[in-house]
Every structure is written in C-alpha cells, then in structure tokens.
Symmetry: D2
Subunit: 346 residues, 4 copies
Amino acid sequence: MIKVGIVGGTGYTGVELLRILAGHPDADVRCITSRSEAGMAVADLYPNLRGHFDLAFSEPDLDTLTACDLVFFATPHGVAMRMVPELMARGIRVVDLSADFRIKDLKVWADWYGMPHETPEWAAKAVYGLPEVARDAIRAAQLVANPGCYPTAVQLGFLPLLENDLVDTSRLIADAKSGASGAGRQANIGMLHGEIGESFKAYGASGHRHLPEIRQGLANAASGADIGVTFVPHLLPMIRGIEATLYAELRNPADFDRLQSLYEERFADEPFVDVMPFGSHPETRSVRGANACRMALHRQPGSNMVIVSSVIDNLVKGAAGQAVQNMNIMFGIDETLGLAAPALLP
Amino acid sequence: MIKVGIVGGTGYTGVELLRILAGHPDADVRCITSRSEAGMAVADLYPNLRGHFDLAFSEPDLDTLTACDLVFFATPHGVAMRMVPELMARGIRVVDLSADFRIKDLKVWADWYGMPHETPEWAAKAVYGLPEVARDAIRAAQLVANPGCYPTAVQLGFLPLLENDLVDTSRLIADAKSGASGAGRQANIGMLHGEIGESFKAYGASGHRHLPEIRQGLANAASGADIGVTFVPHLLPMIRGIEATLYAELRNPADFDRLQSLYEERFADEPFVDVMPFGSHPETRSVRGANACRMALHRQPGSNMVIVSSVIDNLVKGAAGQAVQNMNIMFGIDETLGLAAPALLP
Amino acid sequence: MIKVGIVGGTGYTGVELLRILAGHPDADVRCITSRSEAGMAVADLYPNLRGHFDLAFSEPDLDTLTACDLVFFATPHGVAMRMVPELMARGIRVVDLSADFRIKDLKVWADWYGMPHETPEWAAKAVYGLPEVARDAIRAAQLVANPGCYPTAVQLGFLPLLENDLVDTSRLIADAKSGASGAGRQANIGMLHGEIGESFKAYGASGHRHLPEIRQGLANAASGADIGVTFVPHLLPMIRGIEATLYAELRNPADFDRLQSLYEERFADEPFVDVMPFGSHPETRSVRGANACRMALHRQPGSNMVIVSSVIDNLVKGAAGQAVQNMNIMFGIDETLGLAAPALLP
Amino acid sequence: MIKVGIVGGTGYTGVELLRILAGHPDADVRCITSRSEAGMAVADLYPNLRGHFDLAFSEPDLDTLTACDLVFFATPHGVAMRMVPELMARGIRVVDLSADFRIKDLKVWADWYGMPHETPEWAAKAVYGLPEVARDAIRAAQLVANPGCYPTAVQLGFLPLLENDLVDTSRLIADAKSGASGAGRQANIGMLHGEIGESFKAYGASGHRHLPEIRQGLANAASGADIGVTFVPHLLPMIRGIEATLYAELRNPADFDRLQSLYEERFADEPFVDVMPFGSHPETRSVRGANACRMALHRQPGSNMVIVSSVIDNLVKGAAGQAVQNMNIMFGIDETLGLAAPALLP
C-alpha cells in the first residue's frame, strides 16, 4: 500500500486526485493539506466524496508528509519548488502537478513565471513525466514534473510526426481549447458562469505559459531541432476537456499514406493513447473523467497539411490521472491501477 | 460470473449500463441488441467504450438472450411486455428499465401508456425494484420493474414522512427538474441543443407518466392511505441529474425536531442514500455518474411545511445504476459491486 | 430628453440598463458611477457597448447626479438608503433597483438585511414599482422601489388568484429557478462556471431575502389576508431567466373553468404580461433580453391545485427593464419606449 | 416601406430574420412560407414573437412572393436555385441566405453540394453579398448571395492582410468554432443537447462546404493570387457565436508595426466591423444578437505569424443580420436600420 500525501488539495486537481485514488487498490491517502481550509472535512467541501473519505484538510506539516511514500503537489507555482528539497532529503518521492520543475532552461522558467527558480539542482534532476516519452526515467525518478494539460494534448498529437522527422518544424500550429476547470477554483470574476457561459474566446494569444513547455517537449521529440510553434489557447463554455487541433506541413506529401499506421504503431502499447480511424473527430466527452488521450488524423483535398485533433480531460490525463499514472510507474505496479474506468458519456 | 444481455442498447440507458458493467467484477456482457444498429461496434457509437468492449450490436435473438443469466431491457415501453414471457418460461431473470411492469393497476397503465397491457400475469408478479423499500422481494424476484427516474428521487425523499404518518398526504407536491438525457437519444427537434440550451421550462405540467407511478409508490409507503400529489417536471439545460423539491405539511409542528434523526435512521444502512445535514443543499453534480441519492431537509421560519431536496443522476440511481444494484441483490452478491465510484465533480 | 444617472454600474444590472437605454429615444445617460472602476471606459468593461457609449465610470458625485432628472441605483443594499435623501431634497427622481425601499415593515427589513434602516421616512414614501399593480402611484412617485426578480415572477403569477380570493392563501408554494446572473458579478467561488455549470441545486431553502417581499406583495393583492407562502429558489446552469412554478389550492374546484379568462382579462391591457393558452409551458428563452412575463395555467387530473408557470428575464422584467418601464411611467411617456424588442431566441 | 417575403421560415435563420425585422422601421413582412408548418402561427412556433407578428406560415406561392419588393431565401441549398428565375423575371429582388449562388465556379459548387447547378446564368449574375467588399455591387444587384457564417468571419479577418499582399497566401490557416445554431433546426441525433452539451470536437476537418467559399473570397481579396488555406470547423457547446482564429505568415516581419493601423483604417468606415486594441481577445458574447464582427490582432514573441481572432454571431452578421444589411444597401436606406441594438451580454 503506497502511503500518499497531497499538498494543496482544495482545488480541482486536488479533488480529482481524491476521486481517482478512492478507487485505487494500492494507494492510501494519509493526508491532504490546505492552509485556508485546515480542519474542514474534505467531504464538506466536495460532497461527491461523502462516504468515500473521512479525511480533513490539515496544515502542511513536514512530519506528516515525510511519513508518506509519495507526495503529490497540487499547488500554485512556487510552492513545490521550496518544499521539495526537504522531502527529497528524506527520501520521499514527489509528483509535482505544478509548473515548478517542468522547464529545464531556468532563465525561460523565470521569465514566464515571474520569479527566480530557487532549487535549480532539483529542476535539473526532475523527470518530465510524460509516460509515453519517458517511462523508464519516470520509473527511476524521485521527483517527477507532471506535464501541463495543454502540453500533454499537444505533444502526444505531434510526437510521431516529429520523432520521424516528417514535417516542417519551423511552422507548427497548435490551436487548443479548454474547459473552464483548467483555470482552477479561484475567486475570479473572469471565470464566473455569467462571464464564461454561452461564450467563447481566445486568451493568452500573445503568449501563454504553456508555450515554452510545449516548445521544449517538441524540441526533444525532434531530437533538438529548432521548433517554431504558435500556440493559441481558447476558453470553452464547459467544465472539462481539451481539444487541440494541430497543423504541420508534411515535407513529402507521399508520407500521408503511412501516417495512420505510423501513429497506430507509435502508440500500440500505450494503455492511455487511442488513435482513432483516419478522419475521425474525437470528442472531449469521450475522455471525460478518463485517463485517455484520443486522437485522429485528417487531410484536406490537395493539401500537404497534416491535421491532428487530440482530446484529453484536462483534469485527468492533463493533471491528476497522469499524476497517478506516474505514481504507478514509479512504484512498479500495474500502470492502469485506478485508471481503468471508461469516460462518462453522455 | 453473471452472463448479462441487454435489449435495446443504443440509448443513453444502454451505454450507461455498459459503462457501469465495464467495471463490474462479476458481470460479463454477452450480447447487446439493437434492430437499427445491428452489426455496428458498440465502441463506434460510443467512443468512450473504445478499448472496454469488443461487442457489436446484434439483432434481438431469443437463443442468445436465453443463454444469459440476466437480461436488462432498455427499450421503449411495450417491448419488454411482449418479450418477457418467453424469457420467464426459460428461467431467465429480467430487470426491465422501461415502464412496462411498474404499475400494478393495469387500467391506469393502459390509460397513461396508450395501449392495453399484454401480459397482466407478469405485471402482477413483477417486483417494483426500489431496493430501499423492497430488497427482500427483489432478491427473490425473477422479474424486476426498475423504477422511473423521477419516481426514485421523489419516493426516497418522501419515504420517512409517509412511513411514519407525519404529513398531510392529500396535498403533497413534487417539483422536479431533470437534465436532458432523461428524454433519451431520439431525433427530436424539441431536444436539440439549440432548443434546450440556456433555457428552462416546465413540461408535462398537466400530467406526466411518472405521476401514477409516484402515486402508487407513495400510497404503498403510506400503507395505502389516499395520496393527493401534484408532480411537475421541468427540463434543465444540462445533461445528467434530477433534483426534486418536495413539499409536505407536517401534521404536528413539534415533529420537526425529530425529522433529521428520523431520516438518518431510515437510511442508515442504505449504501446509496445519503442524508445530508439539516439545511444542506444537495447539488446534482455531487451524484453525477454515481449510484447515489443525496437529500436534505429544510424548514422556513414559522412554517409547518417540510421541504426535502433530493438529487440523483437520472441515468444511474434513476436507471442503469439502480438496475445493476437490483442485479446484485437478485444474485446475492455485494450490492455495491460496480457501483462504488464517487461522482464526477466538477 | 430625460437626463439619466446610474449609480453602481459595473454589475450585470448596470450593463443591462445601458444596453436598454442605448435604444431608448428619450433617455440620455449622463453618468454612470463606480468606485472600483472610476476612469475606466464602460465599453472596456463591457465590449458589447463598444460604439454605443462613450462614457467612462466616474466616482459617485452628488453634483453630477443632481444634474440628472432620474437616477437609477444598481447598488448592493444599504447604499441607496443613504444617498436617497439628498437626491430627494433636490427634487431628483429615483428608481432603486436594490432592496432598500421594497419592504414597508422596517423591522422585517432589518431582520433580513442585517442592518437597521436609516431612512425610514423614505421607506414609507417609496412606491413599490410593480406597474401591473401600482401604475398610478408610480406615475406620481419621486422614489420607486424596483421589485426583486423572484418577487416579480411570483407576484404576477399569483395576482389574479389572490385579487379574486379564489385560493387557500395559507399554503401557497412558489418553487422558483434562476439563472446565475441573478447573483450578480462578484468574485465568488460558488458562482464560478466550474461550480455551477452542468449542475442544479436549491439554495436559500430555509429562508431567502425575497420571501418577505413576496409575502408583502401577496398580502396586498389579497387585501391584507394572512399569507402562508413557501418560497424555494434554485440555481440554474444558465445565465438569464427565472421560471417560477406556483401552486395554490382552489377553494371551489368549479372556478377552474373561468381561470384562463380571468387571467387573460386581468392582463389584457398590460404591454408586458402575456398569458399563454391553458396548458402551455413558457420557456425562459422566450423572454431572454425582453421586458416580458409570460405565464400559463395547468391543472392535473382530479386535482384542485392551480399550477402557474411564470417566466421572466431576471435582468430585464426582473430588474433593468422594469426599472426603465417605471421611468417611462414616471415621466409620462410611452411605457414601452426602449422595451419593444422581441426576445433573443434561440 | 419595403414589402418583404421570407421563403423557408421555420429554421433559426427564419426566426432571426423576423426578430430583426420586428424592429426595422422600413420593412414590412408580408409573408413567410413553410411547406411543413403551413397554417401555423409564427408565434406558436416561436413564442418570443408573440405580440410582434400576427403572421402564419403559408405554402410557398409565387403570387404572394411576387407582391413583395424583396424575398429572403432561408432554405436548404437547391431551393432558391430553382425559384429565383421566376422572381428575377418579375423584377423581384432576392437575398439568398443559402449557398446556391455563392460559388462562381459551378463545377466546384456541384462537387461540394452534390448536385448540378440548375441556373448558371443567375449564379453568374449574383453578387456575393459581403458589404465590406462589394457594397456598390450589392446596391445595384437584383440577386445577392448572402455569405456563409464561417466565410464571413474568416474573410473579414484576413482581408487587410491579403489586400495589401503582406502574407504567404499558400499556407493560411483558419481554425473556426461555431455554436450549435449553425447546424439549423433539424431533427438530428448528433445535434441533441445530450450529444453536444459539455463537449467539443472538430467536424468536417477533412473538408467542409465553406472551404471553397472561403478560398474564392480570399483569392478575390488577394487579386487572384493562389490561395492555400486550411479550414477546420469545430462545434461549441453553446447556441450562438463563431470565433475564427486565423494564422498567416508575414512576409516581412517589419510589417508587424503597421498592422494595427492598417486594420483600423481598412474598417474605419464600416458600421459593423470593430477592430479592437492589439492583443485583445474578442468574446462571442460581445456580438450575441448583434450585426457585428469584432476582431483583434496578436503576435507571439519571436514569431512572424500574424494571429487574428474574429468573432460574429453566426445567425446575425453570419446570416440574417447581414441579409438585412444587404437589403438596406439594395434599397438605398440607412445601412444600419434595424441593426443598431447592442449585443446581449451577459
């Protein structure tokens, strides 16, 4: 039984970790911390957990955390960065769902997150936890940086193209759309139902924090080739789900014929990536609540442009589910434990 | 392993049965029938089931069905009524999710459903499958009539009041609201997103088919007392969830003091009924995807009116989940098998 | 041209006043105040107003306000109460969209709003601005208390029953449902899209501030008869619209035959009340953006219960539209000016 | 007073024409036809029009239509094509909201719409009614082909770039998202609320009928240059609104500095195009119900990619509103008549 702690559990990622871990046979949640809600029963904040957890939020406390085998951080950026060294020193393993350890170039990190990185040695050692790319490193890691939601959908969709050097990497485009839960559970007028319902818009179109993370991941997949990628996120009037429509120009149009099998082979052994038939249109609801990425390829008549549509649930494969998948890998247990349920549709 | 067949599997109740049974350790879905989609893979119609079921829809076929231990009917009314006798004759057990066997007074049934009942002997034998009321009878039953969605939410909410003869049964009111999935998956202009989104209305306010079912259930709970109940359903601009706000006049205002403990005791051993603290406001999302009914009591200053707010997921505790709960009871296995996952929130 | 000022214009009621007044031929908005957004262009906060208003929010300033003919208050309760006396003294007319002057019994007001009333003399003089009840008094009033959203839908729906003494007034029930814009535009976790979307719940079921306002209005309609009314509001996962389902027991069942014509006659000359055919189901979208209340009557077989379904747009007939209607009446101009556009459907 | 007829009025475009024309001082709707609903009062189908129109749907009848000055076609493709010649012969002017006369290359039209064009002479004479491009020709036209919804948003957003030859026209990308009303009001399982709500997907990604219309429009703007454009539409879980995010590579990065003023100048005299400040994020709700296109420009650090976000209401500037704008131009009256109201926000 893996003893699990969660730091920063009042947000949507926190409740989603609990929901998933409630059905995990080998994990036991020992503590969940929140400064603002310390003392409150988890089930009082999240009534869907009534009858499933007897836990209350507690003040973050090193002794309690170090009694765990694994600690998930579901905190704003800047928190894990500071707490990780002590946990590392005591041999605790960590999956950080925040952005603190995702970017290797700490100057870039500092620019986008507006603060200097305080634990560069751990930033260097952290493994970027995209299992489909780094499973072995994750298995061995003490500290895993859980990928961002958009970066997960975008990287998985582009991977086979870049790994096989098939497209012009200087002009990639990722037009991505996310449900409102991606913005977290903060008091924020801009995320009120009255502001978001029945409306749609781009945001962060001049530059979003997930851009450098995407660029780094795509560069790795392309063996370090220069990446020119334009990433525009949009806000959907719904709660869960990301769809990313990806555009890449095929260098050799003849390669179109083998793309589908290339994608299918690339992900054939991946339990959580589903390549749908060519020309399909993945729906976000087909992954709602599930740790899955579904994708499909398209080509328009007379065009060299590969179009990939990739969908995930931003709170699951884009956050808590992938974090549990990483935990499973780190502890050498069946990677699908706790993650096998089908999506909730309709 | 219980061998399960599903008749009429293309609707929302059908896909929900599959979603739940995918995680049921003791059930094996052997066939799922659909005249209109015979030959189509289940996962092509419902992509959330990709990787979970290899089944295709088949023509309804008696031989296949009679190789099952249990058959669920997820058909429009009038279908199960005709097919049940042959299954009964061969010893197959049936949970009918349609309305065919819910009403004991067949004249009432005929009036509301617009056709004569063709198998009155089975209508008489069928057990109305509300586990919280009829668990023992369900266990012994060969044919279970799975309750309607509204009747489940309304009956559970009123039960303790009626069983203890605390309220004026001549003027009960159930103001109920349902998500759009309750209307099924039919080509119907009135259920288009463009017609339903961002709008709300009552429907069936002059009389809805669930009214006689509610009246029968409440009369049974009240030991046959005359029931005057007004039931108005409404259509919510969302997919899943029913909330019923119930109004009943307490005969003796002093009884208010013991209502909460009465409710808690009545449902103390029920795995799927959750009485929240007095004055709570159950949210439909707290039961989304879960086989749960949550309820709470309210009183307004100076008033004798008991107010109960009761929520369920209409596709789960209001249909497929309750059907699986009934199957579990009928086969003497743990009643919560396949039904233990928390609701999906947010 | 009526010179108009708006105090507290950053909320949904403020922008709705501007939207309506943009098309009003006889009104000229001279100032709109906001402490928090002073200096910001109105169109920067509300881009739908780009090209329609050149105004910026200004600090509330008595000189500017007293240069107006009419001032609308779209403020939280407690603000108008304090500012009104000076405006009254200088002869300015006021329509207060807050609750400050709605309740005549100031002890009741203080209990529900948690503060003593500071200007009881104006509370006594204020006219409750439901035009269908008090048109003449509104015409003559200097200070009009614009009714609350729920009380508008509920009172209009009950009026003919009470005015004609047809029902048991001791057990009236109003089960009401509102879109999220009714809660205003405040940073509030509970009103996030992630909290409200795809969910439904009752709130304030143990007592909501609109209850005493409803009770007062119904008592007046019933010539002071004792009113026992249960009012339960609910929160809809949509932005605009209120539906109230009203229940009242007819004293004499024979009266059912004349109810429809009674309702039609009562509102025959009302430009903004639409009695639909018996058995209709008014949809909130049929009044979206329009200053209209649509209602319909229902009866269930064998029941004495009159059921009325009444819909309004909470921001229009439930707030800003009714306020403009009151302005039109107060200034003796065509009551429908600025308010004639049909609802936006779909 | 312009005598107006509407052919095919039961869909969303039909009701939207009526909603707009209800407030048009110079237009008088004389007839609205529908084969399926002939005899039904318009206000019975669309209750928002109760009190605004006394019309009933009628069988399409040439005599009635030829008594009009202008006929709008709001029909599926293939209908206007056949009826237009007779109307033209009698001097009636027509605005066709369907696709029949939008494409000049009739082989292309036939390929995408699956039938041969039956009136090529009128296809040649028809004026493509995008006022911002062809106002003079519209004024003189007898037959105007009203642009499609996506093509309107996409063309307006790209226009200044193409007219000034600033971008690589071989690799334009238009990633567009539409509310569900764009699919019309047909009984279609795929457009049920239960299928569309809380979900998002691309559709037509391998080729959508609006692609050739977009390509033709962009080629015209680029003075006939070869256009390579990838167009992917997506379905939003909401009713009204299109957002198109457009990507084009600037030939000369230095041109970025003058883009904003170029856009502002291009549309300075356009009453219905609003260029927002550089870096803004137009929301679809800011144009809900309004005949407006709002757009904004973006640039990401170190990139040559121009990003344009362009929003319209698909039923207004994308259909009925633009049709009325065209009518106003054709009849030489104020282009903004009936179209001046601000959008409905929230």
